[in-house]
């Protein structure tokens, strides 16, 4: 469904991605793990079309979208739930969700829109009764729910999740992962970026490990969970082995 070929990206004059290639197939959850600064978010931003300085090729369902605008990609169904949630703070929860359906809102009736918003509220019971509250007044966990709900409102064909568990307490982390699992059971296609490697591997089919801008490991999630290389990617090479 998504194919990234030899992607290079530059950030402040430095190469953040070095010939990254990966693919995501219809209906699977692929996770991309790696330490801070490995280039994970840059990669997602390239796929979303909001990172300018890049070279390489991105294909979506066979079509080359390397040059497509961010807007066009959302229209095709590539939707990102950004790191740190990035909600529209002064807007209400409902309005935030509605912004998720921005490009579709012209084509659907307001009754239908409301029904979909209600659907999201049911999916995330924590948000019920919070519809008219401003987004910045919510707790971190609730904000993450709104962010994911906002992403779902755009009816994504490919959902890019950028560190959904970041900064959340363990109990909320569990809840986020449960939600992602639910989405998997609905046969949605997801590219999940996580620092919580074991959590992400547990719910994904396949995984890539990114280290300083390069893919250093890839394979089935189960194999990688056993692989010592994952540990090295986070904690560095053994001191004693040198």
């Amino acid at each position: 469904m998504l194919e990234v070929r030899n992607l290079k990206a530059y950030y402040r004059g430095n190469q953040a991605l070095k010939d990254v290639s990966l693919e995501v197939n219809q209906g699977e959850i692929v996770c991309l793990i790696g330490a801070n600064g490995a280039g994970k978010s840059t990669l997602l931003n390239c796929i979303s079309g909001v990172h300018e300085d890049q070279a390489g090729q991105i294909l979506f369902e066979g079509a080359d979208i390397t040059l497509a605008t961010a807007q066009a990609r959302v229209k095709m169904g590539i939707v990102q739930v950004p790191e740190n949630r990035q909600l529209f703070g002064p807007l209400t929860v409902e309005e935030n969700l509605e912004m998720g359906a921005y490009l579709r809102a012209r084509r659907i009736s307001s009754a239908e829109l409301n029904r979909e918003i209600q659907g999201i509220m049911e999916r995330f019971p924590a948000l019920k009764s919070r519809g008219r509250q401003r987004a910045h007044s919510l707790s971190g966990g609730e904000q993450q729910m709104v962010a994911m709900g906002r992403g779902l409102m755009s009816n994504p064909r490919l959902l890019l999740l950028d560190e959904p568990s970041l900064g959340l307490a363990p109990i909320l982390v569990r809840e986020v992962f449960r939600t992602v699992e639910e989405l998997r059971n609905e046969a949605r296609t997801i590219l999940l970026v996580e620092q919580n490697a074991l959590g992400a591997l547990a719910i994904s089919q396949r995984a890539y490990v990114l280290e300083t801008g390069r893919v250093t490991l890839s394979g089935s999630a189960r194999d990688l969970a056993e692989n010592d290389g994952v540990r090295r990617a986070f904690l560095g090479h053994d001191v004693l082995a040198q």
């Binding site: 430095n14 190469q15 600064g37 996580e194 919580n196 490697a197 560095g236 053994d238 001191v239 004693l240």
Partner: protein
């Protein structure tokens, strides 16, 4: 070449300017040209001052026409109505204007953002309306006539030509003083402020007071020009000093190039003569003026003067003698890096005997709450003296918060910190700097438009003394301190391997070099402890290794290092001690191999859904 560009360009240009000033009236006999030249000169005085404010303090004033007008009206009214000597009137005007500027500047410049521009806009409108309405004193909208010429004894400045020499003499002095200020400790501090207020603050630059001082200085320039204007034309009217003239003055600075004294000289000449040229276009002249302004701002936003200078700088950076020198230093650098590596091999991984000596920094029960979020919870640890300590942890663990607590940026924490024997509660970053603690920043905070050398020189701000008056008039002692600062800065640049880049602008450096420059700037104060916030983030393998080598070289100088870093290969390789944070609490500390085997650390990093 670059060196010449910097140290000798100014005198050469000044001699050129002096020659041009002297020769111009010889070459033209046309009194109209002399008249235009005089007006240009008066505008230049205001604009050179305004440029210090805009280009160096990063603040805009839309009130300089009012300061100019105050100079003119106070001179006019005092000499005509009260028969005061013009020179005394001129001084009185300067004093009144300076005082008003201070009154406006102090409350607005202590705030972030562009409040000065709004306040001065209002101020200018008020002053202008008073000039129109208070007709018993100012003569009202029809103006104020009969102002005497300036004179010295019996000799009077009563012709365009005589005034020309007076005005341009003042212009010359104004430019010399401005250049003096720019190339001095306060001047560098001001430019640093413009580049990164955060970093400038950390090096002890008292940002607020410098902004007020420069604003007052620029108002004095304007008032002085206003007084000269009144005595030159002998007639003044409110229309000259309205808000549109303030806008024009700022436009001259922006079109010429904020921060470039020679650029704004060009901007003033260009924009002052433009209406005279556009006179041929008669009623279309405003349209054309507006269009030119918009086009220059769209396509040359940094101003014509700066655009030219930067082209020159870039050319200098890509060719020039530095090429040879760069090779030299680069090889020296890799040499030192490989020496370091060889030493590692020999010494194996034997860590420094940590814990024997007294810790340089003791952290006791530090907690910090950010709007309900516990960023740090009861953290206690010791940072050993003369060693490299790493602070690590997953994203959001509180590492940078801890660094900010240690360096005094966050001061609302609970718990205690001891630097050596001293408790550091309530000390701000530059007080910490004075005590011997220096730092670098996660998102490189360099002063982009200053040279590499000047960046390092700003690092010495806190320990040195030259102030405004010293710098403006080059008072005794000024040069000695300047030399001292510069010498020390070169030393440190050589230490980090950047000596060959000293005279190039910081924005031209590669990312790796920028990181090293930040380290140099921290080292220049001869600190006992340096805090490095992600020194190798975003670097490639070779660059990371070089920085790692440099960090060890710092330790070998007896300086303690505390580093926050995500690149575990570097951390594990060079650290003597590692402290691990997760969710704001310390979960482990110890030597690298202990940390790598620690189950709690593993699960903090690799996560998992319990």
């Amino acid at each position: 070449m670059a060196q010449e560009l910097h140290s000798k360009r100014a005198p050469v240009s000044l001699i050129g300017l002096a020659a041009a000033i002297v020769l111009f009236p010889v070459l033209t006999q046309n009194p109209y040209y002399l008249n235009v030249a005089n007006i240009i000169g008066l505008n230049t005085i205001v604009v050179v001052g305004l440029n210090l404010l805009i280009g160096y303090a990063g603040q805009i004033s839309l009130g300089h026409a009012a300061f100019y007008g105050l100079g003119a009206y106070i001179s006019g009214v005092l000499t005509v109505t009260y028969n005061v000597s013009p020179w005394i009137a001129l001084l009185s005007a300067v004093c009144v204007t300076a005082l008003l500027a201070m009154l406006i500047g102090i409350p607005t410049l202590k705030l972030h953002g562009h409040y000065l521009v709004m306040a001065t806009l209002g101020f200018n409108l008020i002053i202008n309306i008073i000039m129109v309405q208070w007709d018993s004193v100012t003569g009202g909208p029809s103006g104020f006539p009969g102002i005497p010429n300036l004179s010295v004894g019996q000799w009077s400045f009563d012709s365009d030509r005589k005034m020309y020499y007076l005005i341009w003499g003042v212009v010359f002095v104004a430019i010399v003083l401005a250049l003096n200020l720019v190339r001095s400790r306060p001047g560098r501090a001001l430019r640093a402020l413009h580049g990164s207020e955060l970093a400038a603050g950390c090096f002890g630059v008292d940002t607020k007071s410098y902004k007020v001082k420069i604003f007052v200085l620029s108002a004095i320039y304007a008032s002085l020009a206003g007084s000269l204007y009144a005595h030159y034309l002998t007639f003044i009217s409110p229309k000259t000093f309205d808000i549109f003239f303030s806008v024009e003055l700022v436009t001259m600075v922006i079109v010429g190039g904020m921060g470039s004294i020679w650029g704004v000289l060009f901007g003033t000449i260009f924009l002052t003569s433009l209406p005279n040229v556009l006179h041929f276009f008669d009623e279309y002249k405003d349209i054309i003026y507006g269009l030119i302004l918009v086009l220059i701002l769209i396509f040359m936003p940094q101003g014509v003067g700066v655009a030219i200078r930067e082209k020159w700088w870039k050319r200098g950076a890509s060719e020039g003698p530095a090429d040879a020198a760069r090779g030299l230093v680069a090889s020296g650098r890799s040499e030192s890096a490989s020496v370091e590596r060889a030493k590692d091999g020999a010494a194996g991984v034997a860590p420094l005997a940590v814990g024997d000596s007294k810790p340089i920094l003791r952290i006791r029960n530090v907690s910090l709450n950010f709007g309900g979020l516990m960023a740090l919870a009861d953290v206690s640890c010791d940072i050993p003296d003369g060693a490299i300590t790493a602070l690590i942890g997953p994203n959001g663990a509180g590492k940078t918060t801890m660094i900010n607590v240690i360096s005094g940026i966050h001061r609302r924490h609970r718990g205690r910190l001891f630097f050596g024997e001293t408790e550091t509660r309530g000390l701000n970053p530059h007080q910490m700097a004075k005590m011997g603690m220096a730092r670098t920043f996660q998102n490189v905070e360099l002063f982009d438009h200053m040279t590499v050398l000047e960046n390092v020189m700003v690092g010495m701000h806190a320990g040195t003394r030259n102030e405004f008056l010293h710098s403006l008039f080059r008072l005794p002692g000024f040069t000695r301190e300047e030399r001292l600062i510069e010498g020390r800065a070169w030393e440190v640049l050589a230490f980090v391997g950047l000596a060959s880049k000293g005279l190039f602008p910081a924005f031209g450096l590669s990312f790796g070099e920028q990181k090293r420059l930040e380290i140099a700037r921290a080292l220049v104060t001869a600190p006992r402890l340096v805090l490095l916030d992600e020194p190798v983030a975003g670097l490639n393998m070779t660059e990371s290794l070089e920085i790692a080598g440099l960090i060890k070289k710092i330790r070998s100088q007896g300086i303690s290092v505390l580093l926050v870093e995500h690149d575990m290969n570097v951390v594990m390789k060079i650290s003597d001690k590692i402290i691990v944070l997760n969710f704001g609490t310390k979960i482990a500390e110890g030597q690298p191999e202990e940390i790598q085997r620690n189950e709690q650390v593993l699960s903090a990093y690799l996560g998992g859904v319990a």
